[in-house]
């Protein structure tokens, strides 16, 4: 940070400044200040020096009797003032008055001198308050605060045409302002102040703190005064700058870092500064243009901070937008799924009255991984099947569509269910995705002989409900289709008579009926036995409705196909 401290070599504006160009403070004040730095002068000597300039003497007497700088007693003589103040305080007071009077109110046309001194007073009062807390000489802190941006006034004094830039500069936080000064004047106010300090003969320690007040962390020996001036600058910024929220936040950071003070101390300090600035102005004979309203300033700051949360609001807005897009996409997808579902349902055979076969499919989700089919062969026999694709969702639905199409297509030319499944297995093994397979029961029913030729590839057992209420099971004889190529299947021959053959998917037996309990194979058998007097289509509807009604959300697709042996009537 030393580069901001030292004047950049070759800065023409800064090098071009001659001591004679600088504003001239009242000579008497400067002499008193210099005299106070000497240790060979008695207080009587100082009194004589002060008294030699009636304007300065009167002003010093006035100031020491104000409430702000008051010494707790009325002081009527210069000699008494000098003794009561002490050398150091006298020096500071002389300096304050020198600074105050160095640039006359009308020296810079178009420049808001009142606003400048108002800010300077805020810095001074803030520095005094912070200095008091840090155990420093509070009057010296006040003087330093009053002086810290005096360099800026000098810059305007030297370049009065830049006066219009002042409101813009004033609205910037301290660090930005410093950069803008560099642009406007080719130098910064601390550089100018350093120059001024040499010409005026400012005390060494004060000059050093003033030089470091924009880079206090880089200052040698951890200059506490420099840190106080830096904090005071930001406290003042809360009142002046456009983004009061950012300034308030920065103050909190500085308070925490430099003084280990909690955020509420910032508010307390701002309140003190607000209260005392009027008294300080009166003491120094300066004007303040406005009544500072801390509450309004804090409201504005907090509003700013809320606006800084715009990120959050933008996120919210973005989220809403994304959700809306999602909803639109979901609607689109829903429409697609509805179309797919309609198509899937059309792949299933239409119900036919007075027909040995009936079936039903209720998908757990939008699309089904189950399917069933039946159709008549040329010779009058009926080919039928029920299949279940592993997995759920669109991939299962697509494989279901493929398998059911293959079944119908190949089934019409291969009347033997074992050979049919063999061909299906080859097709699915060859082309389907790894890990996907199809369990299937397929058969051919001869309505004349009332016989069924049945094959079960990895599917849950087919059930044969005999007229007397016995239930025979026909479990899988081979693994599902699509697992191992080159499988051969052996059909089971069943004399159906007028009994009921029941094919179903595992969604039926594994579907919950209550409190997580599945219907199970035994439950299904019991239901079939209990309902065996009813027409097959009605039994089927009853069982499916029972499962759908028992479970708020189906875990798996429900599919059933019944084949009822024709007793010669149809």
């Amino acid at each position: 940070m030393t580069e901001t401290k030292a004047a950049p070599a070759g800065t023409p504006a800064l090098q071009a400044i001659k001591p004679a160009d600088l504003p001239a403070p009242p000579e008497a004040a400067i002499q008193v200040m210099r005299a106070c730095s000497r240790d060979d002068l008695s207080s009587a000597g100082l009194s004589r020096l002060v008294g030699s300039d009636p304007v300065l003497a009167t002003e010093i007497l006035r100031v020491v009797n104000t409430p702000y700088f008051g010494l707790g007693q009325e002081i009527k003589s210069v000699a008494r003032a000098v003794t009561a103040l002490g050398v150091k305080a006298l020096r500071n007071l002389a300096l304050c008055l020198a600074v105050r009077d160095a640039v006359s109110d009308d020296a810079i046309p178009g420049f808001d001198m009142v606003a400048f001194w108002e800010d300077a007073l805020l810095r001074a009062v803030a520095a005094r308050e912070l200095g008091r807390r840090a155990g420093l000489d509070d009057e010296e802190c006040f003087t330093a605060g009053l002086l810290q941006d005096f360099g800026l006034l000098v810059q305007f004094y030297l370049s009065p045409r830049q006066a219009s830039q002042w409101p813009r500069l004033r609205a910037q936080p301290p660090d930005c302002r410093l950069m803008m000064e560099q642009e406007c004047f080719g130098a910064t106010h601390d550089q100018v102040l350093a120059l001024l300090g040499r010409v005026w003969g400012l005390p060494e320690a004060l000059a050093q703190a003033l030089g470091a007040h924009h880079a206090p962390e880089g200052a040698e020996s951890e200059d506490v005064l420099a840190r106080i001036l830096y904090a005071g600058d930001w406290l003042t910024a809360v009142f002046c700058v456009g983004d009061k929220g950012a300034a308030l936040n920065r103050c909190r950071e500085i308070f925490a870092e430099s003084f280990a003070m909690p955020p509420e101390e910032v508010t307390r300090c701002l309140a003190l500064v607000t209260e005392q600035v009027g008294a300080a102005a009166q003491a120094l004979g300066l004007r303040v243009s406005r009544q500072l309203d801390l509450e309004q300033v804090l409201n504005e700051a907090n509003l700013r901070l809320a606006r800084a949360n715009r990120d959050y609001q933008e996120l919210t807005w973005l989220l809403e937008k994304t959700l809306k897009e999602r909803d639109e996409l979901a609607a689109e997808l829903n429409q697609e799924l509805a179309l797919a579902r309609e198509l899937q349902q059309r792949l299933l055979p239409a119900p036919r009255g007075d027909y040995p076969l009936c079936g039903m499919n209720v998908p757990a989700k939008r699309l089904s991984g189950d399917f069933y089919d039946f159709f008549e062969l040329d010779d009058g026999r009926i080919c039928f099947s029920l299949g279940d694709v592993s997995g759920k969702g669109i991939n299962a639905a697509l494989l279901m569509a493929k398998t059911s199409s293959l079944f119908r297509c190949l089934g019409k030319e291969t009347a033997d269910p074992a050979r049919l499944l063999g061909r299906l297995n080859e097709e699915i093994s060859e082309t389907s995705i790894r890990g996907m397979f199809v369990t299937m029961v397929a058969g051919v029913y001869d309505p004349v002989e009332r016989r069924v030729s049945l094959v079960n590839a990895g599917h849950v057992p087919a059930l044969l409900l005999r007229d007397e209420g016995q239930v025979e099971t026909f479990p899988a004889q081979a693994p599902p289709l699509g697992v191992v190529p080159g499988m051969s299947y052996q059909p089971v021959e069943i004399h159906l008579g007028d009994d009921l053959l029941c094919l179903y998917s595992d969604g039926v037996t594994e579907g919950y009926i209550q409190a997580g309990k599945a219907l199970g194979l035994s439950g299904l058998k019991r239901m079939l036995r209990g309902l065996r007097e009813e027409p097959p289509a009605r039994i089927l509807r009853f069982i499916i409705s029972y499962l759908v009604d028992s479970s708020p959300q189906l875990r798996d697709d429900l599919t059933m196909v019944f084949l009822k042996g024709d007793n010669g009537g149809g």
């Binding site: 279940d388 592993s390 997995g391 759920k392 790894r434 890990g435 996907m436 397979f437 369990t439 590839a457 990895g458 599917h459 849950v460 057992p461 479990p475 899988a476 004889q477 081979a478 693994p479 599902p480 697992v483 191992v484 080159g486 499988m487 051969s488 595992d506 594994e510």
Partner: protein, 121 residues
């Protein structure tokens, strides 16, 4: 993650609990990951209480990938609950199944247990 350990040149993946629609993706990922890295895989099903079709599908996928890659893939210590499901679908004829680790290692020593030696034409 399901626990795994090395046994001979097998990586043993011990599934447990309910291998259902919720947990089977984890099983699948581990099984396929092991095979992709070139390991022979034994899936220990002794602590499986329930396995649904998605769990079975993960095993089938592992079996098929092993066959493609010429790796051994077998099941070991199949619990009764898991065995019932495998038998129901006749998948017990597809997977090499061993009673315990020793049996699996002994079979491997004799050059058995590759994925294409059980069911077939």
């Amino acid at each position: 993650m399901y626990p795994t350990h090395k046994a001979g040149d097998y990586l043993v993946i011990a599934l447990n609990g309910e291998v259902d629609l919720y947990y089977s993706p984890r099983a699948r990922e581990q099984i396929l990951g092991a095979l992709e890295s070139g390991a022979h895989v034994l899936v220990d099903l002794s602590a499986v209480e329930y396995i649904d079709s998605s769990g079975v599908a993960s095993l089938v996928e592992g079996y098929q990938l092993a066959r493609e890659k010429g790796l051994r893939f077998a099941l070991v210590g199949v619990s009764q609950a898991a065995m019932q499901v495998l038998q129901l679908a006749r998948l017990d004829t597809v997977f090499p199944i061993y009673e315990d680790l020793d049996a699996a290692l002994a079979a491997a020593a004799q050059g058995q247990g590759s994925a294409d030696e059980r069911a077939g034409p």
